[in-house]
Subunit: 209 residues, 4 copies
């Protein structure tokens, strides 16, 4: 028995962190006592929280999809993959904090905190996207780690679907300098597109598992 | 290896979110410092929190039962099921927020916040019920996704036990317009009935697994 | 495929709730800003929080041990077991609230809130103990649910090790009426004894799995 | 069927607690309302929280690596291992509290709370390291618990990589008496080294699983 890590356990540990980070996002949403005088209004006023929660939820959802697509093709993981995966989880488990900051900043009148919070939030999303792409491209070069019957081309294909998000995040971050509010909507759009895109191609190739 | 998702991993990720959302519900309950002067009284005064916690707990419990009933019959999941499942988890992970709102509103004297909070809460429960039904009915039409030996009729049967909750939620939401407090008790009753109902029929059919 | 539930999924869902409830207990512990003037003192002053955390942690640990002992002998679960298990999880997921109340009450000078909080807390522990015993005794009567090679006697044996906690909890609750503080220490002792006891006998019977 | 515990279930329960404790660490980070006037400044001012979060994250990451290395070599676990594992999880699930204390103390001007908080935090890390080492050394002596084909030498090898952390923690704790701030950076360095070290040797031995 050598020191390689079973991809099953890595995936189980990662899934645990994905599921918990996703669920914790909502703990931060709270209506202050004064909001109960006009609760409909207070519920409506919390739209930035729902927006930030939804964006982070579907970003992690798309990440889980890509992560599962990678790990079910791996027979085992080596040191590099374990390190990249820990780095990824480190940012994912941290995400509830920038998410909360972005939601709170969007409720403020002034533009300055909005810009700071959205850049901070988008920076975390960008790092997640880069690490996930790096991990997939690395695995594509390590044929010995793949399951029998899996071709490196499949991982290249997978990385082509994950990779475009990084430059998009870059562009949205530039936009956030002048229009932070619009940037958050684009982050949401990118997350939803990432959830939908990789699977559409699944419909095109209806071969057996 | 194609892009279909293994139903096992989907179920594991979903179970994680179900378990966490269930457990987080109780974090919101807190007795204020002043409550310690007469703690029995304070414990009793928190009945709306226990009611809301219990309702959401057994609603998720019933959902877990139906979700498990569906996924253990699936061999794999396609894009549509993955999307519907993410939509479902998005509402489930959000549920602690309306649960907390409902509990807090029930402790207020006035009727207005109660109505708003209960409608918001019931709306979330209604969406959960509709998405779960849609996912089951869709799977019943996709014979190629089912495990060998599973008949589409089993899924129709399953959907017949899930489906009635949606119109019930609609009726209770109408009632909530005039009697929000009674509506929460009916939500609890519906959750308990959903937990008990699908299983009673399990006793009627004692065939081997 | 009938409606029986696989014991594996039930156990996974239960383990999730056990792990989360255990971990959430510590979220409630916080040192107020003023405590930082003399932090050693503040850390020491929080002993009731550590006591309550430790008691609940090992109570859930002992419960997990007994729960695992039962479910690994089950082939499948019927409606009754699913219901009892949901009831059990409902109390376990609720436990962080009475745990927090007990910790806070022990920091108060007066006896009254202590008594109320400890009775409330001990009541939850008693219910957990009763439901776990009932579930084990019920399973011992349902030979058709057991895995091949498992004798009902093993479950009777198991229940004999779980059962004694219920009357003990009853006695400690009586004591809590006059000495609530001592009662919490006894709850801890009972939890530790339950963790240690069932396993000692494992050493006595070193047969193969 | 005897009373030995399957190492699979023990590992699943432990992984759950590791994943949750890791993720909860970030819940404690919050920017006060006043921080939104200059949010970049407020985000920068929170560096002690990021430092403490990162240290605890990679400490648990390294622990997970060692824990997985031990348990995948075990066929089953006896009473001693179950007890040591519960002890380990008891400290791990408690870790978010000293982590929070350390982060808060580092934001204070005065040295006294810093010293207390860092000693308390480092003490928890030291206990984790000692219990993990004890568990590995114990398992190395119990050949009957190991999977077929696993040599006790592998566990001695494993313990040699875990063991050095305990005396290091001791040294850093001594340093913390005079320079608590530097000590936290060393705790982080130790955690990162522990994550990287055990795996490097995995690259050296590229044998099949």
């Amino acid at each position: 028995m050598d020191d390689r890590f079973s991809s099953v356990r890595l995936e189980a540990f990662s899934d645990g962190i994905f599921a918990i980070a996703t669920t914790l996002l909502v703990l931060e949403i709270a209506v202050p006592e004064s909001g109960f005088d006009d609760l409909w209004q207070a519920i409506r006023d919390h739209w930035p929280s729902y927006l930030a929660y939804t964006t982070s939820f579907f970003t992690i959802g798309a990440l889980w999809t890509a992560h599962h697509g990678l790990f079910r093709r791996l027979e085992s993981a080596d040191a590099r993959i374990l390190h990249l995966n820990l780095l990824l989880l480190w940012v994912v488990a941290f995400l509830p904090f920038p998410t909360k900051l972005a939601a709170e900043a969007l409720r403020h009148e002034s533009d300055d905190p909005e810009r700071a919070a959205v850049l901070f939030y988008g920076g975390a999303l960008l790092v997640i996207s880069i690490v996930m792409t790096a991990m997939t491209l690395y695995a594509a070069r390590r044929r010995d780690l793949l399951k029998e019957g899996v071709e490196p081309e499949e991982l290249h294909e997978l990385s082509k679907r994950i990779r475009p998000t990084a430059p998009f995040y870059g562009l949205i971050l530039l936009l956030a300098l002048v229009a932070p509010r619009a940037a958050v909507w684009l982050f949401l759009g990118l997350a939803l597109a990432s959830v939908i895109a990789p699977i559409r191609s699944g419909g095109r190739r209806p071969s057996a598992d």
